[in-house]
């Protein structure tokens, strides 16, 4: 209990509302995320998971409500927030005509990562995600899964203490999905925080200590490491 209290809150969201025209995507959503947590955003397609991630990373702004990420309002200080956090977007691919190595150098320049640690991190992640032999191949020639690994790596090159991951295992083979799970657990055990959006119930239940369940009409916060069975029961009642 004492340990919980002493943890720093990295993300706090209060009464967040977002709509596109007549379509309400997020309605009075509130939650907070302390450091070291794996926080899941779970829900079927089209309920606003990606919109929420976009708001938290300053890519979009809400209609009302307040949001603080690392003490900043993301849509007002979007480059400062993005400088500190890592983002794995759902749909983005790496630039087609750069090689992964060139792309990581490009990310390194934008994020002002020193040469030595950049090189070290590139090699570490390429080895961990098994694409060392593809480092000098054009990204357009990589498979979807390999491109996903490259995007995964770009989000982690600067060792961020807060990472936003939108659909982390889409396009990955089962072996690599296990590797990603392992990574998420390891990374959070080092005190880092991960916010992941997914529609995979089992994946979320295995990894997340808290889950925000989104449906088309409400958001419910499920605390205390909900099991897959509990999640399924919850979703049968609400989805």
């Amino acid at each position: 209990m004492t340990e919980e209290v002493s943890k720093e809150t990295l993300v706090s969201v209060s009464d967040l509302t977002k709509s596109y025209g007549d379509l309400d995507v997020l309605d009075s959503v509130s939650f907070s995320i302390p450091e070291g947590e794996v926080f899941g955003i779970l829900g079927p397609n089209g309920v606003g998971k990606t919109t929420l991630i976009k708001i938290l990373t300053g890519q979009d702004s809400p209609n009302s409500g307040s949001v603080s990420v690392l003490g900043k309002t993301p849509w007002e200080e979007e480059t400062k927030v993005r400088h500190e956090v890592g983002i794995l977007p759902e749909k983005q691919s790496p630039p087609s005509y750069l090689t992964p190595r060139e792309f990581f150098n490009y990310v390194g320049m934008v994020r002002e990562i020193p040469d030595e640690s950049l090189e070290e991190n590139i090699n570490k992640w390429a080895e961990y995600l098994s694409f060392e032999e593809k480092l000098d191949t054009l990204c357009s020639n990589l498979s979807r899964g390999q491109q996903q690994k490259v995007m995964f790596t770009q989000a982690l090159l600067h060792n961020p203490k807060l990472v936003f991951i939108d659909e982390p295992v889409a396009n990955l083979d089962p072996l690599m999905q296990e590797r990603v799970k392992e990574f998420i657990m390891d990374y959070s055990s080092e005190g880092n925080t991960i916010v992941l959006s997914t529609h995979h119930i089992e994946f979320a239940s295995e990894l997340c200590s808290k889950i925000l369940s989104l449906t088309s009409d409400k958001a419910v916060l499920l605390d205390d490491n909900p099991t897959a069975d509990e999640l399924i029961q919850h979703f049968e009642e609400t989805w």
Binding site: T79, P89, L98, T99, E102, E112, T137
Partner: protein, 481 residues
């Protein structure tokens, strides 16, 4: 074959009507009639040449237009994603249907030729029938002749696109070849060229020879293109080209103490990405060389005609450079077409960071090309040193203004703006008016200005362009969020 043709036409029609709106699309041929009629009216009223000269010019312009339209094929393997967004077209259906790429491309090319014949050539024929003293037989021959020139242009562009040039040396050699061919073609006297056109060849044998020759060129070029055009990237693993150039752009800039460049690392990173897209995508560096070659060819052709007609020697350096500068939109498109603002959302970059990088990239490409054009014009056609110097002062100012003015209207989506015909035409007319003093001085300045005065004029125009750019940056572009 007929079924495929029908669906390709339907797709093309829906694509255009979705982009332009039905009314504007249907009104487009009327716009062409008005445009060509205005040109023909001017040519007849000012007595700018014989009927054959006018016919020759129209053939030349349509051949160039077809080269330009056909050059879209340079981006064949990227087109589905880059040009059409998420749209998928029937042209790519050989990847999931039992149909060969050769057949698809051939039917697609026939459809394209017929479609654009309706859109451009038919209205041009109507204008010429109104303004030129032509008989029914002349009009029929002209229809065949102009259609053939257009089809030869399309098949030539397809053929060159299908050569798959991406390396620097191949690109440079091919650009020189294309420029030389166009220069030779356009430096012929009207009499020599009229012999190779179906409508103007003096004898029946001449007309038949011109027709058969054109058909042969079309058949060989189209067959080669159908077999070799790369429609998908997956067909072969692409080589990592221009790695040295990309590495130089990326390498030592992260540590400010080691940096030899005065540009921001963020800017340099986005410039790198932009040039990797431009240089490594379909057509490579050559697609830029090809576009410039067409523009230079057309400019030289028009200046040649004007020179012959008015007997006034233009200042080639200033005139050619400013006409090419007027057509900088193609370079603006190259810089912006492969990415969007969303592609940078996961990085700590804002709109202004990306715009700065795009401006830098535009100067790197456009300003450099204009300097090459100015120096080449000077080497080929000669001229006054003061005029060359003035032109070199003018180039960065024209580039800067062109970028800021275009960005004000087209922002990060030049293709969307290009398809917005009405706004794009207004944009072009305003640009033309601003460049008009330079064109007048370039074409006729010799009659009333000394070279040193032209130099001073260029400095004055450069100051105006810098001032206008400053206003756009200060009050419009950089204040946007």
């Amino acid at each position: 074959m007929q079924g495929l043709f029908k669906y390709l036409v339907k797709e093309e029609f829906r694509f255009h009507t979705e982009l332009f709106g039905l009314a504007r699309f249907v009104g487009f041929p009327l716009f062409i009639i008005l445009l060509i009629s205005a040109g023909l009216f001017g040519a007849v009223e000012l007595d700018l040449g014989t009927v054959d000269d006018v016919l020759l010019s129209v053939h030349g312009l349509f051949f160039i237009l077809a080269l330009q339209i056909g050059s879209v094929a340079f981006m064949a393997s990227d087109a589905a994603n880059d040009l059409l967004g998420d749209r998928s077209t029937l042209l790519y259906s050989h990847t999931y249907l039992p149909i060969t790429q050769e057949r698809l491309i051939l039917v697609f090319a026939i459809k394209d030729v017929l479609f654009y014949l309706g859109l451009f050539v038919a209205p041009a024929i109507i204008s010429m029938a109104i303004f030129l003293p032509l008989t029914i037989v002349d009009i029929l021959l002209l229809t065949v002749s102009l259609g053939t020139a257009f089809a030869v242009g399309i098949s030539t562009a397809l053929f060159i696109s299908s050569l798959g040039l991406k390396s620097r040396s191949q690109s440079v050699i091919m650009t020189i070849l294309v420029i030389s061919s166009l220069a030779i073609l356009f430096s012929q006297t009207p009499l020599e060229l009229t012999d190779v056109l179906i409508s103007t060849a003096p004898s029946l044998v001449g007309k038949a020879t011109a027709g058969i020759g054109s058909l042969l060129i079309m058949a060989i070029f189209s067959a080669y293109a159908a077999r070799n055009l790369e429609l998908s990237q997956e067909s072969s693993e692409q080589k990592v080209r221009y790695a040295g150039f990309i590495k130089r752009l990326l390498n030592p800039k992260r540590d400010p103490d080691k940096s030899t460049s005065n540009i921001q690392p963020k800017t340099s990173a986005v410039v790198t990405r932009t040039f990797s897209d431009v240089l490594r995508s379909g057509g490579g560096l050559f697609k830029i060389g090809f576009t410039i070659a067409i523009l230079v060819g057309m400019t030289a052709y028009l200046l040649n005609i004007l020179n012959q007609t008015t007997q006034i020697a233009p200042q080639y350096v200033l005139t050619t450079t400013s006409i090419i500068a007027l057509a900088s939109y193609a370079n603006y498109v190259w810089i912006f077409q492969d990415d969007s603002l969303d592609d940078y959302n996961y990085l700590p970059l804002n709109r202004n960071d990306i715009k700065s990088a795009k401006r830098y990239s535009f100067h790197l490409l456009n300003t450099t090309l204009l300097v090459v054009v100015a120096l080449t014009s000077f080497a080929l056609f000669g001229g006054e040193e003061f005029v060359l110097l003035g032109t070199l002062f003018l180039i960065p100012a024209m580039s800067e203004f062109y970028f800021e003015y275009t960005f004000t209207l087209a922002s990060f989506d030049p293709m969307d703006f290009l398809f917005d015909t009405l706004r794009f035409n207004v944009f072009s007319v305003v640009l033309m008016l601003l460049f008009l003093p330079i064109l007048i001085v370039g074409l006729f300045g010799i009659l009333f200005l000394q070279p040193i005065q032209i130099f001073v004029f260029c400095l004055g125009m450069a100051s105006i362009f810098w001032a206008l750019s400053y206003v756009l940056i200060k009050f419009i572009n950089d204040s946007e969020k």
